[in-house]
């Protein structure tokens, strides 16, 4: 029985090998070689592409990608936590409707949503038309970093709301009543009980917003108007414009390492919050 069940895993293992492991190895291979990509006989091993990366030009792009991703993640958290909290506290029959409002946008095409923001934010867009109509001066946020952050927050907010909502709605109502029973008012109950118990959801939410935010190239291209080059755009350019697969691979590997490191840090935070008090058990 057990062995038969194992057989069911083989298609997936095969899938992983062909579409994940081999491409990853190829990316790594390209990153440490140089030569004509159409002629494998011209390949030679080198670390020059890695060296090339440590240029202020590229470091600045990395820095900007990180900064915008962090700002977007923080904004998503600040906006998403109260939303998740309110949904989890609302009446059962309202819950699914409220959740639907937040999930509905995800069902629409990502590009379409971002184009919609272009139509709203562009210098002659809906926003400035509306401002003009009520007699206010136009604002120019697109193209620019503000528009990019706005696009990221809009697109990734549901990924923050959902995990936090899930964790919050799983908290036993009796535990909150117990806190009140022991003398905690609503504020103390939130700070000492709800917030610590929701850390796993917050960590998941941060991970799920930060990862796509740091690697996006569509949002920055459309709402940044080509001015705001992020690491995602840089990678895209290496493959589509400059045809430098080797340097593109280096950038991909570096981005991957950075995401892995930040995820490791986050899961450490998550574990610490769970292990609190348990660590001294042995």
């Amino acid at each position: 029985m057990k062995n038969r069940a194992k057989l069911l895993a083989y298609p997936y293992v095969l899938w992983m090998a062909i579409f994940i492991v081999i491409p990853l190895l190829l990316v790594f291979f390209y990153s440490i070689t140089s030569g004509d990509i159409h002629d494998s006989s011209s390949f030679s091993f080198t670390l020059e592409h890695y060296a090339k990366f440590f240029d202020m030009l590229y470091l600045n792009v990395i820095w900007k990608s990180f900064r915008l991703a962090v700002i977007s993640t923080v904004l998503c958290l600040l906006l998403g936590y109260p939303v998740a909290y309110i949904i989890s506290k609302s009446r059962q029959q309202h819950k699914s409707l409220l959740l639907l409002f937040f999930l509905l946008p995800i069902w629409m095409n990502f590009l379409l949503r971002t184009y919609a923001w272009m139509a709203i934010l562009s210098p002659n867009g809906f926003l400035n038309k509306a401002l003009e109509f009520i007699g206010l001066p136009p604002i120019e946020i697109m193209p620019g970093q503000t528009a990019v952050v706005l696009g990221m927050v809009y697109n990734f907010l549901p990924f923050m709301v959902l995990p936090i909502y899930t964790v919050l709605s799983k908290i036993d109502k009796n535990v909150l009543e117990a806190a009140m029973d022991l003398g905690a008012n609503r504020f103390i109950t939130f700070i000492k009980i709800i917030l610590p118990l929701s850390v796993p959801g917050v960590v998941t939410g941060i991970t799920m917003v930060f990862m796509p935010a740091v690697s996006t190239f569509v949002i920055s291209r459309l709402l940044g108007g080509g001015k705001e080059l992020l690491i995602g755009n840089l990678i895209e350019q290496q493959f589509t414009i400059y045809r430098d697969w080797h340097f593109g691979s280096v950038l991909s590997i570096i981005l991957m390492i950075m995401i892995l490191v930040s995820m490791a840090v986050m899961s450490k935070v998550d574990n610490d919050s769970e292990e609190e008090g348990r660590s001294a058990m042995w």
Binding site: D172, N174, V175, E177, A178, A179, M180, D181, L182, G183, A184, N185, I188, K192, I193, P196, L197, S273, E274, E276, G277, R278, A280, M281
Partner: protein, 349 residues
């Protein structure tokens, strides 16, 4: 008698138009162990939650030491609660769980340490301070919950089926521990359970509830021996409930015969319900009994046998240590004090 600490007056609470608690009036005295007993949905937990401040009554008042506390939030009531599923703070260790209430009151560290040590000793969990609550067994978790509530020195402790999640053996042990603890710390316990045995073993006073109404209030012995109505008789222990007629004081007719009894105060010829407990019926030779019947079933229950004896269309349940063969003819006999006469439900309408 000690003074009243909690009084409920005309307390009513409905959910979606269904009355969970229907105009109840009771008072609870200081240092009393009171149990609210009834089947699920009888309103006992709702009553408890209103005393704790987790539900607001639709109408009626709750008094605590003479003061109306209807509008006081739970954290301002000098009452603590033990929840059915413990409701421990899983992100804290045992010490921090118990310290929660003390920290809010800004208790000095040395006093807090001393109080928590004392509590852990009371619940026999010394040395468990640093343990994570998830690593404890159900019984240990329940004891942490008790310590967490008692460390605040409440005047009243509410317990909402606190032993329901424990296995039988542990439940029995905890029953004894809880009633010992109640005597040691000298505070009022209001205990909710659907387990009639638990209620009878632990309480000073039992309040039997059904459909949001109080059926009977009394000591365990009174409730068992003198059930006020058919519901109480049926819910508390096993009983044989027969329809009868109260001929006059101390004389009741049922099963086609007249019996002497110890009850009075009914109208002459009033229709009544008659309760005879299974363990109060003696099995005799057919010619010696008041009632003549045939054994239809015998089940071994450990200490006793549970037998069903059929006689003129009624099946009597009998608990006896002597076994009779199925099909044998027997006589059933009982004394006047074994017959409990109750008002027939609805007979007043």
């Amino acid at each position: 008698m000690s003074r009243k600490i909690i009084e409920l007056k005309n307390l009513t609470k409905s959910y979606n138009g269904v009355k969970a608690v229907d105009n109840i009036n009771i008072f609870i005295r200081e240092n009393e162990f009171v149990t609210l007993l009834g089947p699920s949905g009888c309103g006992k937990t709702t009553t408890l939650r209103m005393i704790g401040g987790f539900e607001n009554p639709d109408s009626g008042d709750i008094f605590f030491e003479g003061n109306r506390i209807n509008d006081l939030p739970p954290y301002k009531r000098n009452i603590n609660t033990i929840f059915q599923r413990y409701a421990l703070f899983t992100h804290m260790n045992v010490y921090e769980n118990i310290a929660f209430g003390l920290r809010i009151k800004k208790t000095p560290k040395d006093e807090m340490d001393r109080k928590i040590k004392k509590m852990l000793k009371l619940v026999e969990l010394e040395g468990f301070e640093k343990r994570h609550v998830d690593s404890l067994s159900g019984g240990q978790q329940q004891r942490v919950a008790i310590a967490r509530a008692l460390v605040n020195e409440p005047k009243v402790l509410l317990l909402d089926e606190p032993l329901a999640a424990l296995d039988l053996k542990l439940r029995k042990e905890m029953q004894i521990e809880l009633s010992d603890m109640q005597k040691n710390v000298g505070i009022t316990f209001i205990y909710v359970t659907h387990d009639q045995e638990e209620a009878l073993t632990m309480s000073d006073t039992v309040v039997v509830m059904n459909n949001g109404l109080i059926q009977q209030v009394g000591s365990p012995v009174d409730i068992y021996n003198e059930p006020k109505n058919r519901f109480v008789a049926d819910f508390i222990g096993e009983s044989n409930i027969l329809e009868g007629i109260m001929i006059e004081d101390f004389l009741v007719e049922f099963a086609g015969k007249m019996f002497k009894c110890v009850d009075k105060g009914f109208q002459n010829n009033e229709p009544v319900d008659v309760v005879i407990r299974p363990e109060d019926i003696d099995v005799t030779k057919p010619e010696d009994g008041h009632i003549h019947g045939v054994v239809t079933s015998v089940v071994f229950k450990g200490v006793h046998y549970e037998m069903l004896v059929e006689s003129s269309g009624f099946e009597y349940m009998i608990h006896s240590t002597d076994m009779q063969e199925v099909g044998s003819e027997v006589g059933l006999s009982f004394g006047p004090e074994d017959i409990h006469v109750m008002k027939r439900e609805g007979s007043e309408n």
